[in-house]
Symmetry: C2
Subunit: 297 residues, 2 copies
């Protein structure tokens, strides 16, 4: 039996998926999300929604999943838990790759996890990966996240911003994936945090449609397009080599096409590309660092 | 102090790198390998040789490295060794991505590893990843490898072919990376195996220039090119998520651009692409399985 609380969260995530897809479709104006329902042999399943070749979005996915089953000894060890028989995990995962190199890639994952009759928690990650870092855009993004955090608890933003800097990090490049955002896991399930989770989830559409309206029609050069394709390589490196959601998906025998909807549509890996000193590419690289504050009053 | 045996192997690998680069350049007829020497802060370094935009090779790398240093407790655990203070590791790593989708990707890694005053071993992996599996080409490749193996020991090919099937495998896709080849690790260092290692290393140029001559000018369609870009996605998935050489490189603070020369120049990830029943794409997928024998008398 799946708990009432699990079902309530699952229902919420299905609604969130639906509302985000509608907002992205409206802002894109051309492509629709195609829907694939899938079932997991061991329990549960999901709804994968993918958009390809829109006006603005080259490839984007909004995945809902709710899986459950028996807790394995490996899972107990990985989660550092003392006991547990039955788990339930549900959430929404989003990645958007735009055509325009002057528009950022965005990612969000909101999740609820429960070990029956024992414990439950929330986790969220939202981060922005501009191909070119533009301080004004970075400030808009972080100000929005801080405002959502501050509504619930003024200690949340600084803590979860730092966590994101550490989480969305590519060690072999000594670079952050992008300009970060917020990340947390194992946040207590209570009324305050449920509101917080929902506020974060519901902030997504407004944040990204802002960039869809502001940046999607900016003119760009061929060199800027090339740079975008190289930066997408870093995105693929992070997701395949480090991302814990991807690893968890692989190890729990998830649906590969759903997990990997996050990978960029077209990616280039050139050997050791030249970066001109003083260029906006060099500016971007110099700001793919932990600990930068993008907040402005 | 690095042992005499280490230096002898290092010198051999430098020669092997040089002779393979010359053979590939001659067969390509246009591009030259560019050379980057690098040093590792903790000891040793390497020579990375990369070719881009040749007549036949779109991107290819032939890397030599020889690194040494103090054995860490993590390394002892990873290698399941009881003791060891100083290690030396040297080898040559190659990946070739051709323009033509009807030409296979090839990979080889030959390596020597020594723990000073304790143990040493050889390791080799050679595998072929055709975008389209053609039985005639697969048989040519495996017959060549078997012939090299049989010269040293008739038990080697069956054993190391099976090892390659298991090693070059993408669990989340339930696919082998390509048609396999041979793989082994921890092979005793002795005169017989030294000859075997050298014979394998020296077979590389003949094998791949055969495909450069036979397949590089075959006419291909736009759909075949698209399929190649999708198959390259699988190659990137394998290398970033599973390949132990890549992981070892990341964890030992190796030079990222050298390690990742293996990644394809241009890669596509489409969501859930359609495969027509009875097509050569479907034939390929059906043969990306362990345990297929490609040998013919």
């Amino acid at each position: 039996m799946i708990s009432k609380n699990s079902i309530a969260h699952q229902d919420y995530f299905i609604q969130l998926q639906d509302s985000i897809c509608k907002a992205i479709e409206a802002a894109d104006g051309k492509a629709r999300f195609l829907e694939d329902k899938w079932e997991r042999a061991e329990g549960g399943g999901g709804i994968t929604k993918v958009m390809q070749q829109g006006n603005i979005i080259e490839k984007g996915g909004v995945n809902f999943s709710a899986v459950h089953g028996t807790v394995s000894p490996m899972m107990l060890r990985a989660l550092e838990l003392e006991k547990g028989e039955h788990f339930f995990a549900s959430g929404v995962s989003i990645v958007m790759h735009p055509h325009n190199p002057l528009m950022p890639i965005i990612h969000m994952n909101v999740r609820y996890f429960e070990i029956k009759d024992y414990t439950s928690w929330y986790g969220v990650g939202i981060d922005l990966t501009p191909h070119y870092i533009v301080p004004e855009d970075a400030t808009f993004f972080h100000n929005k996240l801080k405002a959502v955090c501050d509504t619930s608890d003024s200690s949340y933003y600084p803590k979860f911003k730092e966590w994101a800097d550490n989480y969305f990090y590519i060690p072999h490049r000594a670079e952050t994936r992008g300009i970060g955002g917020v990340f947390f896991d194992r946040l207590d399930v209570n009324a305050k945090n449920e509101t917080f989770l929902k506020n974060l989830g519901e902030s997504f559409a407004g944040i990204y449609t802002h960039f869809m309206q502001k940046n999607a029609k900016l003119p760009f050069t061929e060199d800027q397009k090339k740079w975008q394709l190289l930066r997408r390589g870093r995105y693929a490196e992070y997701n395949l080599a480090y991302d814990r959601g991807t690893r968890f998906g692989f190890e729990s025998n998830g649906r590969a096409e759903s997990i990997l909807m996050s990978l960029p549509p077209v990616t280039h890996w050139d050997y050791n590309p030249d970066i001109q000193e003083g260029s906006s590419e060099a500016f971007t690289l110099a700001h793919l660092k932990k600990g930068i504050s993008w907040i402005s009053a």
